[in-house]
C-alpha cells in the first residue's frame, strides 16, 4: 500500500522492539530488588535507623529467631535463644552459633527473611553475619552476632516478629582459601 512505511523500516523497528524486550527481561532483575525493598519482602529489611535514639518503654515486641539449613548443608546452625523481647528504639543482640562438623574447610552464606512483611520496613539491622560470608575450618565453631533496632514508628498492631536465616553451602562458588573469616 502506498501509505505504508517501507518493509525495511518496519522490520528494523520490530527488531528494535525485540531487542528492547530482551533487555527488559534483564531489567526485571534490578526492578525486582527495588520492589522487594519497597514492599519489605524477601528479607529485604530497612536501611539505617534514623529515628529517635530514645527507647520506647511503653511497649514490647517479641522477636523470634529461626535457623534453617539449606538442602545438603551439614553445619550445625542455631540461635542461642529462640526469642527475646525488644523495646522499640533499643539496640538488641542475638548470637547465632555455627559449627562445621565435616573434615574439610567450607564457606557459607546466610540469607535472612523477616515476617510479617509489613514490619520489614521497621526492622533495622546494625550488624549481621549475613552481611559477609563465613569460612569454617574442620570442626571449628563460631558465635555470630546480629544486632538490630525495632523502629519506634512500627505499627502498633505488630507485636510479634520472626527473623529467620537459611544457611547455604557456597564452598563450590567461593573456595574457603579465598574468602575471609566472617563473623
Amino acid at each position: 500500500m502506498a501509505d505504508s512505511i517501507s518493509l525495511k523500516k518496519l522490520v528494523t523497528r520490530l527488531l528494535g522492539v525485540v531487542v528492547a524486550m530482551f533487555v527488559f527481561g534483564f531489567a526485571l532483575v534490578p526492578l525486582y530488588d527495588v520492589m522487594c525493598k519497597a514492599f519489605g519482602i524477601n528479607g529485604k529489611t530497612a536501611g539505617q535507623y534514623e529515628g529517635e535514639q530514645v527507647v520506647d518503654q511503653s511497649r514490647q515486641v517479641r522477636v523470634q529467631f529461626l535457623s534453617t539449613n539449606n538442602i545438603d548443608m551439614p553445619w550445625e546452625f542455631y540461635p542461642k535463644h529462640d526469642e527475646l523481647t525488644a523495646n522499640p528504639g533499643a539496640v538488641n543482640e542475638m548470637i547465632f552459633v555455627a559449627r562445621n562438623p565435616t573434615d574439610r574447610p567450607m564457606s557459607a552464606q546466610a540469607v535472612p527473611s523477616i515476617a510479617p512483611s509489613e514490619a520489614a520496613a521497621y526492622f533495622h539491622k546494625t550488624e549481621c553475619f549475613c552481611f559477609t560470608q563465613q569460612v569454617l575450618q574442620p570442626g571449628q565453631q563460631i558465635e555470630m552476632p546480629v544486632r538490630f533496632i525495632v523502629d519506634r514508628d512500627m505499627p502498633k498492631d505488630v507485636k510479634h516478629l520472626t527473623l529467620s536465616y537459611t544457611l547455604f553451602d557456597i564452598t563450590a562458588r567461593h573456595p574457603p582459601v579465598a574468602a575471609n573469616t566472617g563473623g
Binding site: 500500500m1 518496519l10 522490520v11 524486550m21 530482551f22 527481561g25 557456597i170
Partner: protein, 528 residues
C-alpha cells in the same frame, strides 16, 4: 482458472512448485510453508499426545505400575513443552501462513525467505529437545514452567540442550511474528483498510505483537538460567544473592501473554466460522477488535495470578486478583458477540461449526474456572492441584485445539480441492467432544478434593475419577489418529470443492479456486 490468478509481470517465477523433496526444503511459498507448519504441528500433537497417554496410563490406578517417577516427571514436562511450543503455536503459524495472504489479497508473505528459515528451525529445536529423553540423565523433568532451582541447581545435565531448544523456538516464533506483522501492514490489497480485515487477520496481528513482546523475555529467562548453571551468576540462586521467586516473575511475565498467544488466533478463526454457518455477518465486529486488543493489553499485568502463594504483599494479591478478573470483561464481550451472531441465524451444523460452537461453550467453562482461580484467597487451596490442570485444559483443548480443528475442516476444501467426508468429520467431533470432557471434567473434582498435580501416584479416594479421566484420554487420543485418516482421505479424493464451498462464507480466500493455485493474487484484488 479465475481471472484473479494472473502471472503477468512474474515471468521469473516458476508457475508451479518445484519437483521432489527439495521443493519442501527450499520453498518460500506461503502455502507450502503453511502446509509444512501444519504437518509438523500435527506430528508434534501426536508425539505430545503419546506422552499424555503414558501419564494417563500411569494414573489409571493408584500406585506405581508402569513408569518410574523420574520418567513420569519427564513425561509431564515434555508433554507440556511439546504441546505448547510444538503443536499449538506452529499450527496457528501454519494457518496464518496459508490464510493471511489469501484473506488480505497478498501474493505471499512479506519475507518469504525468512519464512522458510523460521519453519526449519523448529524441527531442529524439537530434535534437540526430544533427543534429551535418550541421554543418560534423562530429559527435562522440571515441568513445562521449569521453575528454578529445579531447572538450575537440581536439573539434569540435559538442561543445556533444553535451553538451546527454547532459544531456537523463540527465534523461530519471533521471525514468524515479524513476518505476519509485515505482511498485514504492508501487503494488504488496495481498499482493504484495517477495519475491513477479517477477524482471523486481526487476532493474528495482535498475537504477533504479543509474540515479539514476550518471546524475548523468555529468551532472557533461559539465558539467565544458562548463566547460573555455567557461568557462576546467581540470578535465581539465593546463596549468591539472587532469588528463585524472581524466576517466576520473569517466566510468568512471558507465560501469561503466552496463554493468550495460544487462544487469540482461535478466537479469530471462530469469528470467521460462526458467521458463515449462521449466514449472518459477525455481530459487533468493532467491539471484537477492541476486545481482542484489550485482552492483549491486560495480559501483561496479570502474571502474578500464577504466584498468589509465593508471598507477594497484600496489595499485590489484590491488584493481580482484580486485574485478572477484569480480563473476563472483554472475554465476555466476545462470547456475547458469538452468541448474538448465532441468534436468529439460519444455522447449520457442519463439522467446522460443531467445533466452533463447542469452542464457545467449553471455553467459557474454562473461563469460569479461571475466574475461580483468580480469587486470591481461594487459589491458596487450588494452587498446584488438578483443578488448575482442569482449568487450563478446558481453555486449551476445546479452546485452542478445537479452534484448530474447526479451521482445518473449514479450510480443508480450499487447501485440497476436495470436500472432507462430513459423516466422518462429525464422528471425529463427537468422539473428541465426549473424550475430552470425560478426561478433563473429573479433574475439577479431584482437584478441589486436593489431588496434587505432577505426581505419579495418588490417594485411593481419587481412584474412580482418575480411571474415568484415563479412559476419556485414551478415547480422545485414538480419535486423533482417526482425524489423520480423514485428512489423508480428503487429500487423496472426495467430492470436488467449489471455490466457495460454504454458502454463507465471506472473504477473499473464497474468490480463488479450490484447491488454491500455487500463486494467488499476483495482481492485487480490488476491495470495495
Amino acid at each position: 482458472m479465475s481471472a484473479v490468478i494472473d502471472d503477468h509481470g512474474h515471468a521469473d517465477h516458476a508457475h508451479g512448485p518445484a519437483k521432489g523433496l527439495m521443493r519442501w526444503v527450499l520453498t518460500t511459498n506461503h502455502k507450502d510453508i503453511g502446509t509444512l507448519y501444519l504437518w509438523f504441528a500435527f506430528c508434534m500433537f501426536l508425539l505430545g499426545g503419546s506422552f499424555a497417554m503414558v501419564i494417563r496410563a500411569e494414573l489409571f490406578q493408584p500406585g506405581l505400575q508402569i513408569v518410574e517417577p523420574a520418567f513420569f516427571n519427564q513425561m509431564t514436562t515434555m508433554h507440556g513443552l511439546v504441546m505448547v511450543f510444538g503443536a499449538v503455536m506452529p499450527a496457528f503459524v501454519g494457518l496464518a501462513n496459508w490464510m493471511i495472504p489469501l484473506m488480505i489479497g497478498a501474493p505471499d508473505m512479506a519475507l518469504p525467505r525468512m519464512n522458510n528459515f523460521s519453519f526449519w528451525l523448529l524441527p531442529a529445536a524439537f530434535l534437540l529437545l526430544v533427543s534429551t529423553l535418550f541421554t543418560p540423565g534423562g530429559g527435562p523433568n522440571f515441568g513445562w514452567t521449569f521453575y528454578a532451582p529445579l531447572s538450575t541447581t537440581y536439573a539434569p545435565e540435559s538442561v543445556t540442550y533444553f535451553i538451546f531448544a527454547i532459544h531456537l523456538m523463540g527465534i523461530s516464533s519471533i521471525m514468524g511474528a515479524i513476518n505476519v506483522i509485515a505482511t498485514i501492514l504492508n501487503l494488504r490489497a488496495p481498499g482493504m483498510t484495517l477495519m475491513k480485515m477479517p477477524l482471523f487477520v486481526w487476532t493474528w496481528l495482535i498475537t504477533a505483537f504479543l509474540l515479539i513482546a514476550v518471546m524475548p523475555v523468555l529468551a532472557g529467562c533461559v539465558t539467565m538460567m544458562l548463566m547460573d548453571i555455567h557461568f557462576g551468576t546467581s540470578f535465581f540462586s539465593a546463596a549468591g544473592g539472587g532469588d528463585p521467586v524472581l524466576f517466576q516473575h520473569v517466566f510468568w511475565f512471558f507465560g501469561h501473554p503466552e496463554v493468550y498467544i495460544m487462544i487469540l488466533p482461535a478466537f479469530g478463526a471462530v469469528s470467521q466460522i460462526i458467521p458463515t454457518f449462521s449466514r449472518k455477518p459477525l455481530f459487533g465486529y468493532t467491539s471484537m477488535v477492541y476486545a481482542t486488543a484489550s485482552i492483549a493489553f491486560l495480559s501483561f499485568i496479570v502474571w502474578a495470578h500464577h504466584m498468589f502463594v509465593v508471598g507477594i504483599p497484600l496489595v499485590g494479591e489484590l491488584f493481580f486478583m482484580y486485574a485478572t478478573m477484569l480480563i473476563a470483561v472483554p472475554t465476555g464481550v466476545k462470547v456475547f458477540n458469538w452468541a448474538s451472531t448465532m441468534w436468529q441465524g439460519s444455522l447449520t451444523f457442519e463439522t467446522p461449526m460443531l467445533f466452533a460452537v463447542a469452542f464457545v461453550i467449553l471455553f467459557s467453562i474454562g473461563g469460569f474456572s479461571g475466574l475461580m482461580l483468580a480469587i486470591a484467597p481461594a487459589d491458596f487451596q487450588y494452587q498446584d492441584t488438578y483443578f488448575v490442570v482442569a482449568h487450563f485444559h478446558y481453555v486449551l483443548v476445546p479452546g485452542a485445539i478445537f479452534g484448530i480443528f474447526a479451521s482445518a475442516y473449514y479450510w480443508l476444501p480450499k487447501w485440497t480441492g476436495h470436500m472432507y467426508d462430513e459423516t466422518l468429520g462429525k464422528l471425529h467431533f463427537w468422539l473428541s467432544f465426549v473424550g475430552m470432557n470425560l478426561t478433563f471434567f473429573p479433574m475439577h473434582f479431584v482437584g478441589l478434593a486436593g489431588m496434587p498435580r505432577r505426581i505419579p501416584d495418588y490417594n485411593l479416594q481419587f481412584a474412580d475419577f482418575n480411571m474415568v479421566s484415563s479412559i476419556g484420554a485414551f478415547m480422545f487420543g485414538a480419535t486423533q489418529i482417526f482425524f489423520l485418516f480423514i485428512v489423508i482421505k480428503t487429500i487423496r479424493g472426495g467430492a470436488p470443492a467449489p471455490a466457495k464451498p460454504w454458502d454463507g462464507a465471506e472473504g477473499l480466500e473464497w474468490s480463488v479456486p479450490s484447491p488454491a493455485p500455487y500463486h494467488t493474487f499476483t495482481t492485487p484484488p480490488e476491495v470495495k
